[in-house]
């Protein structure tokens, strides 16, 4: 966060040069034909998808030994069973309408119905023995033959010492992810890239791990190959449903970064201090969340030296909280594994809302001690008291996401800005900032359309075959510019009439604005505490690290 305002210094001309350099093919091609593909033109998706397929095919075939991509354009057996390509209507508009009411149960859907086939994105989880574990839509039992076909594909390719990664058809992308004894499959007509879809499957896998741990899943299947994992996951389907819903609607997942609630830094600091003071042995993370966004996070310092808290783990925690909010008056105590932190161990999470009955401010305390409920609940009492004394709840209630108009750049409709890990001496949680989605992106359809455009930009920037640094994309109803440097990743959306020069000036202004506001927009220095009189075995490190940390602490 040192100087997000600096990069634009090369000035518009330099940027433009790099634009033409990096994104040349896009610039020269007629923007209308190559770039302006839009929601209702389903024919174009067919152009793009096989194109991506070929790109990946070449790439993976040469780069990743032992893995290859099966490109199947004809209707395969799988498709007839599971995918179906008959629906020719706009893949987006229809499915959004269906998905709009979040967290609806799709368990009872008729899997033979056309509407089932037309879902934008199916996700299936099965065991290596071909046993269904989870399906986003429809019941697993009804889909057991479909999943059997999927497993047949996986094992057929496996028998040749290879690994199936994806299948492309005219309208669908089928992506496979094998993780230990689990096979995850995504069947999508969302036109997202294979990489993105695989990243989403990985979130699903991690969410399962967060509930069961990798070690116990491995142990179970070692013991009994055809174990029905639904026994252990029964009741957790809604957590996975909720996750997939978030993955579709919340760009945090795409950016692998955490969105924090904009807050005056003085308020954030005082909240952090409150958390910092209310500690008990074996407490490792204290996290305050408001309106599903991060307010502050305080970490145990010896533990955090071992491993940093990854955005994905925070996403899983936020999803868990969202999914367990049905009965909000109580105090929850539950084991949870943070898969990126340590996939084999549980933390014990204390979850409680501080503002019943509204339930927007949530305290999450993670301990390594299973028995610590009462001690941790006591920490909550202290935090609550301090927050009442400081009137923090009403201050938090006033905090809001901001409007893009505050940036003061006309033509700029929306943006997402993700700075990279800046204070170098300190592993910081990757964050991003983004204004509210406002008109014309206020309806669910339009929101999803913008998110899809961002996903498209993201896939171009992060394409494995031809990564780009900058892309200027003239779409039908807006113009987008995405730019990645060593310091940040930025996605902007402008009105369609903006010129390239204008857009670049606007970005310079935007970056200055962010620099000015960064104390409010980001958690700058996540504070730490020390609660380990008897630190858990893994969390000891050299003394010198300790001292550097103390040095850092004294700066706070």
């Amino acid at each position: 966060m040192e100087d997000p305002a600096e990069p634009p210094l090369p000035g518009p001309t330099a940027v433009e040069q790099s634009a033409t350099l990096e994104a040349e093919p896009n610039q020269n091609a007629d923007p209308e034909t190559e770039e302006s593909e839009d929601v209702d033109v389903s024919a174009q998706s067919a152009d793009i998808v096989p194109d991506e397929a070929n790109g990946n095919n070449g790439n993976n075939g040469t780069d990743c030994s032992g893995e290859f991509v099966v490109t199947m354009l004809a209707r395969s057996n799988l498709e007839e069973q599971a995918v179906g390509t008959e629906g020719t209507s706009s893949p987006l508009s229809e499915d959004i309408a269906e998905e709009a009411p979040p967290l609806q149960s799709h368990r009872d859907e008729d899997v033979m119905a056309e509407s089932w086939r037309q879902h934008r994105k199916h996700v299936f989880v099965l065991s290596e023995a071909g046993k269904p574990i989870y399906s986003r839509y429809g019941s697993e039992e009804a889909l057991s033959s479909t999943m059997g076909v999927m497993m047949a594909l996986v094992s057929f390719v496996q028998s040749g010492d290879n690994m199936i990664r994806s299948v492309y058809s005219e309208e669908h992308t089928v992506v496979f992810l094998q993780k230990g004894p689990l096979v995850l499959v995504c069947v999508s007509n969302s036109r997202q890239s294979e990489q993105q879809l695989r990243a989403e499957l990985l979130y699903v896998y991690y969410q399962i791990i967060s509930m069961l741990t990798q070690a116990s899943i491995a142990r179970i299947f070692e013991h009994k190959k055809n174990y029905d994992l639904r026994r252990l996951l029964a009741g957790s389907e809604k957590i996975l449903d909720g996750l997939l819903n978030l993955v579709d609607w919340d760009p945090s997942f795409l950016l692998a970064a955490v969105h924090c609630l904009p807050l005056p830094s003085s308020l954030r600091d005082s909240l952090s201090q409150t958390l910092q003071k209310a500690i008990t042995p074996n407490l490792v993370f204290s996290i305050l969340i408001a309106k599903n966004q991060l307010v502050t996070i305080v970490q145990e310092k010896t533990v955090i030296e071992d491993a940093r808290l990854e955005p994905a783990d925070v996403h899983l925690l936020l999803n868990l909280i969202g999914a367990s909010s049905a009965f909000q008056a109580g105090e929850i105590w539950t084991p949870i594994c943070l898969p990126l932190f340590n996939p084999d161990c549980y933390f014990y999470a204390y979850i409680s809302y501080l503002d019943p009955p509204e339930c927007t401010v949530c305290l999450l305390l993670l301990s390594t001690d299973k028995e610590a409920f009462y001690a941790v609940a006591e920490c909550k009492r202290r935090i609550e008291e301090a927050m009442v004394a400081q009137n923090s709840l009403s201050l938090i209630a006033k905090a809001q996401s901001y409007s893009v108009s505050q940036v003061g750049v006309s033509d700029l409709r929306h943006f997402m800005y993700k700075p990279f890990d800046v204070p170098d001496n300190h592993h910081q949680l990757t964050q991003f900032t983004s204004p509210e989605m406002e008109a014309p992106y206020s309806s669910d359809e339009e929101k999803m359309r913008l998110l899809d455009l961002y996903r498209y930009m993201h896939s171009r920037i992060h394409s494995s075959s031809r990564p780009l640094k900058l892309i200027y994309h003239v779409a039908e109803r807006e113009t987008l510019l995405a730019w990645v440097t060593s310091k940040f990743e930025l996605y902007t959306c402008f009105s369609p009439l903006v010129t390239k020069a204008c857009a670049i000036t606007a970005i310079t202004k935007l970056l200055r604005w962010i620099k000015k506001e960064e104390d409010r927009l980001f958690i700058r220095y996540p504070p730490k505490y020390s609660t380990t009189p008897n630190p858990s075995k893994s969390s000891r490190k050299s003394e010198q690290q300790d001292s550097t940390d103390n040095g850092f602490m004294s700066l706070l």
């Binding site: 069961l212 026994r231 252990l232 009741g235 809604k238 009965f327 008056a329 109580g330 609940a377």
Partner: protein
């Protein structure tokens, strides 16, 4: 708002156990919030503090999923009452009580009382569908000293009686006899004498969280029954050799003037 009651130390612990989807959270929700709502599968356990007259009763609503099995004995430690819940339309859920949950109760108090509760009675029993109207009356009596859990009477009609689930298609799979037989086996497992223990017909309930049938009766009976346990605990606390830092209010009040 609720700080006053939150600072109070629970006097006694009640734990709700049972297979997944038998309606543990719904039962508690019906009792405390006076309404029925679709709940999401509980993760881990949820802790509630209920004021019962001058006493604070902590209630642990646990997850029925096998996934959280490891935590069960922790929730049950020192429990004064355990509610073992099954679904009257699902025989397996009764069997699970014996197979999975009974062993978790080993950490409970020696004088712990057990209630066997068959939920979802509205699906099989016309009587359980009809109690909606009278439910409101018993509510008010039960609300005596309640502060923390607000009385929330649904504005218009409280839960349409047994709506779509077509009760006729759901056969009652667990009869009252089977529940009382299980109660007897639990007493034997605990090495308790049937004659000196609470009688089975008093401790086996059929309830409906959906209509509210028998829900108040269940909790209120239990709370009344654990009162002796509370009083004894308070007495013991005064003799307790362990310093309890949190308990400055009641028992140790005399000895610690500083707070």
């Amino acid at each position: 708002m609720p700080e006053v009651s939150k600072m109070k130390k629970p006097d006694v612990k009640v734990v709700i156990l049972g297979d997944t989807s038998v309606g543990k959270t719904s039962l508690l929700h019906r009792y405390t919030e006076r309404k029925f709502r679709d709940t999401i599968s509980t993760v881990g356990g949820a802790f509630y503090l209920k004021q019962w007259g001058p006493y604070n009763i902590s209630i642990w609503d646990t997850a029925g999923r096998e996934q959280f099995h490891g935590l069960g004995s922790m929730y049950c430690r020192g429990a004064a009452a355990i509610i073992l819940t099954y679904d009257v339309t699902n025989w397996q859920s009764l069997a699970e009580i014996e197979e999975r949950f009974l062993s978790l109760t080993d950490t409970a108090n020696n004088d712990c009382i057990y209630a066997i509760v068959g939920n979802k009675a509205d699906l099989t029993d016309p009587q359980a569908q009809l109690t909606v109207a009278t439910d409101g009356l018993t509510d008010d009596q039960g609300e005596g000293g309640e502060q923390r859990m607000k009385l929330q009477v649904p504005p218009a009609c409280p839960t349409p009686p047994a709506s779509p689930a077509s009760p006729s298609s759901l056969l009652k799979q667990v009869g009252h006899d089977e529940a009382t037989a299980l109660y007897g086996r639990i007493l034997r497992y605990k090495g308790l004498d049937e004659k000196s223990s609470l009688p089975a017909d008093r401790m086996c309930f059929e309830t409906s969280a959906k209509t509210g049938y028998n829900v108040d009766a269940l909790f209120e009976t239990l709370f009344d029954l654990v009162l002796p346990s509370i009083l004894r605990k308070r007495n013991e606390n005064q003799w307790s050799p362990t310093v309890d830092l949190e308990d400055y209010r009641e028992a140790n009040g005399k000895r610690r003037g500083c707070c």
